[in-house]
Amino acid sequence: MINMERINTFISEWLPIIGGSIVETAQMVIISLLISTVLGIPLGILLVLTRRGQAWENKWVYQILNLVVNIIRSIPFIILLFFILPFTKLLVGTTIGVQGVIVPLVIYTAPYIARLMESSLLEVESGVREAYEAMGIKTRHIIWNVMLREARPSIVLGLTIATVGLIGATAMAGLVGAGGLGDLAYRYGHLRYEVDVMYATVFVLIVLVQGIQSLGNYVAARLKKD
């Protein structure tokens, strides 16, 4: 039997709190996603173009970049969060709240996006780039008009994966007082045994992730023309 009264009480009591958490999660995800993408795409391009036989072939730049990306990617977010506290403090003046968590989120996500972009760009047929080189077109124009353009569907799917990963990482943001859905589930659902809150939060997260993935798939399919 569904107890409507209980549901109504739950909604009126928890909706503002869950709503607030959704806003916090959205803030963290959107801001860090934007900054990570701005950093990650150029890094991904560098990872492709500094390879052997590519336009900006440079063994040192490639090896160092590759190593740094691998090191950061090996550290679990919860450790990274505390590991770089001094750096976060130096950069934004605080280590707590949404502001304090953006720095570790970006450092965690940018190398991930760089790797995803690298693999997207490597999928672009090298023959098309060669054709543009043969026409006397500058490398920077080829990056924009050939590589990024042709990789768009794959880039969108990559960013979708990165966004879902980011939502997961923001669950740990509560540890530095940044709030969000993960924090809500942990504090109320786990520490205070409010199981309903846990279920509600998990439900919201599932809907969120499903929605983002479907949107990503849709946009990628629209961009793909073959």
Binding site: E125, Y132, A134, M135, G136, I137, N145, R149, L223, K225
Partner: protein, 342 residues
Amino acid sequence: MIQLENISKKYTTKKGTIEAVKDVSLHVKKGEIHGVIGYSGAGKSTLIRCVNLLEAPTAGKVRLNDKEFTELSKAQLLAERKNIGMIFQGFNLLKTATVGDNIAIPLKLIGVKPSDIAARVDKYLEIVGLTDKKNAFPGQLSGGQKQRVAIARALAQEPDVLLSDEATSALDPETTESILDLLLKINAEFGITILLITHEMQVIQRICDHVYVMEAGEIVEDGPVIDLFSQPKHKTTRSFLNTISQRKLSKEFVDNLKKTGSVLRLTFRGEATGDPVLAAVSKEFNVKPNILTANIMELKNGVIGNLDVHMAGEKEEVARSLAFLEAQGVVIEDWDDQYGKN
């Protein structure tokens, strides 16, 4: 127009040095179509990429319109490349752009005035016969249509030279024919000089003025197409010729015939069909020529006929009849089982 002088290209890999191109020289005169033929791995792909310096040669000189390419700065080289169109086996179009944009985008990037771009797109789409596909995406086109778009893209730069890297190798025979016709048309109408590489003798036969046979990085034989087709010397040239003619005699069959006379390969150049000469031979001499196989190849600059003939008769009579045929300009060779092999 295009001059390669002693071009060599070496690659250093972990396993050692590979010499893909060894001391190759060639000269394509303005308005001509020259073809390099070779099996895969012969180095022809590397060679054609040395012309526009997509591959920098290890040694040798590349000269185009009397400009020394190997001495140009990077910026100068980019500027010169605008004058060289290139088409590829894999078409290399943008999948995410329409046919029209595939032509317009490179024009924009090489600095053609925006007001001229639309007109050029329409003009060259019409030349390749794809005006109605302007808003289609490459994914909706057939292989031949994609190559036409690639040709329109190359032409739209209005280059003096077109490089073709196995442009018909991914196409079926009928589509290949139509693309070759298009290349002949643009060569005739715009005077574009064409250097192509291929492994299909049919391409050389149909459109080339001059052919280079390449093997293991070297040019083993070259000359005007009509000469090479009528008197091939190198065995690679012969085996390429076998791919376009029907020479299916078996060695056993020929050996049996040789007991009663000679088995010969007669090659006629030009418009001569061969039949009247053979009729004359049977009248003048005490020999009975019997045609075993016949083959006519239409080249860009003429016709070549091949006859495999069994000449029955006494040795001396046969010898006299052959001398007569040679005097008529017929090239005579003993039948060789090399011909039968593919």
